[in-house]
């Protein structure tokens, strides 16, 4: 009996390992196919622009509210620590560094992973299980090019722009709090906030946002494009798109920060 249980556990472990490795291999093939199709004609510019607007506008409201609250609350939570050694004048500078180096792209990525990633996963998953993708293919239209390439490019571009917008809204939120307590002017706030920001920080901000946008688009499309098991599969695709995107975003954050810090102290 005990031996049977061991064999069963070993079987389940081997099966899960096999399916995980297959998934990684298929994901890699999907990634390679994206770059092959990206530079191959035809280019669906109009669809890419439509998707960019769609993703951008769909997330704008949420980014505005979340970014503002993050900026406002971050200042509120940081003030007591700085107050204890009389350094509240450092708040704008602290916010500038925190926003541009980490918070802006990360908050944008987490919000859009939930909003856009799940949306792409569910949309493509639903198209897959209702044979709309097959219908596209038999109409001599390349569904990978039309659905995946356009969405991944759109997600990359729009999340870059959203991250810059999120930086602005976060700084606005933090200014509102600082202004209401310390009463400093907008000019002083901006001068102090940007005093510790360098070109490398802005550049990293954009690179991070682009990487997260690409990841969200790719994972959403991959999970949606490979959805199975009917409507249950659509839900699973949307769910996995969010979970896996967020996991990858944190991994990428960790790696990018290490690389940038290494460059910073060269």
């Amino acid at each position: 009996m005990k031996q049977k249980g061991q064999i069963r556990r070993r079987y389940i472990f081997t099966k899960n390992l096999d399916s995980s490795l297959t998934d990684i291999y298929n994901g890699f093939k999907f990634f390679v196919q994206f770059f092959k199709e990206l530079f191959r004609k035809p280019f669906y510019f109009r669809e890419t622009v439509n998707q960019t607007f769609e993703i951008g506008i769909r997330s704008l409201g949420l980014i505005t509210i979340t970014g503002f609250i993050v900026g406002f609350v971050f200042v509120k939570q940081s003030r007591p620590s700085l107050e204890s050694f009389g350094a509240t004048s450092w708040l704008p500078s602290l916010m500038g560094i925190a926003t541009v180096r980490a918070l802006g792209p990360l908050v944008t990525a987490l919000i859009t992973a939930g909003k856009v990633g799940s949306g792409i996963g569910a949309e493509l998953g639903s198209m897959k299980v209702t044979e709309q993708i097959d219908a596209m293919e038999v109409s001599a239209i390349n569904p990978f090019k039309y659905l995946v390439v356009t969405r991944v490019v759109a997600a990359t571009v729009s999340i870059c722009l959203l991250a810059l917008y999120c930086d602005f809204v976060e700084l606005l939120g933090s200014y509102m709090n600082i202004n209401s307590v310390e009463g400093i002017s907008i000019q002083t706030f901006l001068r102090n906030a940007f005093s510790s920001i360098y070109f490398l920080d802005i550049f990293t901000n954009v690179i991070k946002a682009a990487t997260y946008g690409f990841t969200i688009g790719m994972v959403g499309c991959y999970k949606g494009f490979n959805a199975t098991q009917g409507t249950r599969g659509v839900g699973m695709a949307a769910n996995k798109a969010v979970v896996f995107s967020i996991f990858l975003i944190f991994m990428e954050e960790f790696i990018i920060v290490q690389i940038v810090n290494w460059i910073r102290y060269l």
Binding site: P42, S126, M127, T130, E131, Q132, D134, A135, M136, E137, V138, S139, A140, I141, N142, Y146
Partner: protein, 259 residues
């Protein structure tokens, strides 16, 4: 086992689809095991079989959506699993595929669904020409008034009709129907059957109709091919196929009519 060509005169006709020794499996499940098939120009061939017998897989292999494990599939003399994607796509424009659920694009209205294959494949096509083609196919499926409706607002039968209209928009020479009457009430089923026959006469198409509905098979197929255990059990005219002593065919016939 019946011959694949029931009428010797048909042999003189042009072959549009030819399949030899087709095998297809998914993991351990053998779905098709040695299919041979010939479809002649302007002929309607109905493939009958139980759910899960591999009927839809056959259509997907013909259109290059799935690759066969073994065997040769020729469409207009070209082997679909060996040609380049560009060649396959130009072949696909000569084939219309009507999906079981209609497979209409949810995010587009009827007009956009019908315009999509044209505008994507013929970059310089005139907007007036697109509109004219859409009006023509909508007229053929008798749904002209639904031109700006969304798929979600259409009934099951209307979705299938629009699916057929979308398949016809590129003026295909071959039509493939996957379960055209599945899930429809008897009256709508008869309307779809009439539409399939009208399409054949009006557009001079050759068709493969996949179904498990004997009424549909009897009224649309010039020939019937009975699929079971991954092979064609019998191929020929309806009466010839169902006069067979094969228990699987008899069972299928009795079950259908008892229902």
């Amino acid at each position: 086992m019946g011959s694949f060509v029931s009428d010797p005169e048909k042999e003189k006709l042009e072959t549009v689809i030819s399949i030899e020794g087709l095998y297809k499996s998914f993991d351990d499940l053998q779905v098709l095991s040695g299919i041979d098939l010939i479809l002649h120009r302007q002929e309607n061939l109905t493939v009958l079989g139980r759910s899960g017998s591999g009927k839809s897989v056959l259509l997907k292999i013909i259109t290059g959506l799935l690759k066969p494990d073994k065997g040769d599939v020729y469409v207009f003399g070209k082997r679909v699993d060996k040609i380049s994607l560009t060649e396959l796509n130009s072949l696909r424009l000569r084939i219309g595929f009507s999906f079981q659920s209609g497979a209409l694009y949810d995010s587009m209205n009827v007009y956009q669904n019908l315009a999509f294959p044209l505008t994507m494949n013929y970059k310089n096509i005139d907007r007036k020409e697109v509109k004219r083609s859409i009006e023509e196919v909508l007229d053929a499926v008798a749904l002209s008034e639904k031109i700006y409706q969304m798929p979600a607002d259409l009934s099951g039968g209307q979705r299938k009709r629009i699916g057929i209209a979308r398949a016809l928009i590129t003026k295909p020479e071959i039509m493939l129907y996957d379960e055209p009457t599945a899930g429809l009430d008897p009256i709508t089923s008869v309307e779809i059957i009439d539409l399939i026959n009208e399409v054949q006469h009006k557009y001079n198409t050759s068709s493969i109709i996949i179904t498990h509905d004997l009424t549909c098979a009897k009224n649309t197929g010039n020939r019937i091919a009975m699929l079971g255990d991954g092979k064609f059990l019998q191929v020929g005219k309806f009466d010839v196929v169902f006069s067979s002593n094969d228990e699987r065919i008899k069972g299928f016939y009795n079950y259908n009519f008892i229902q």
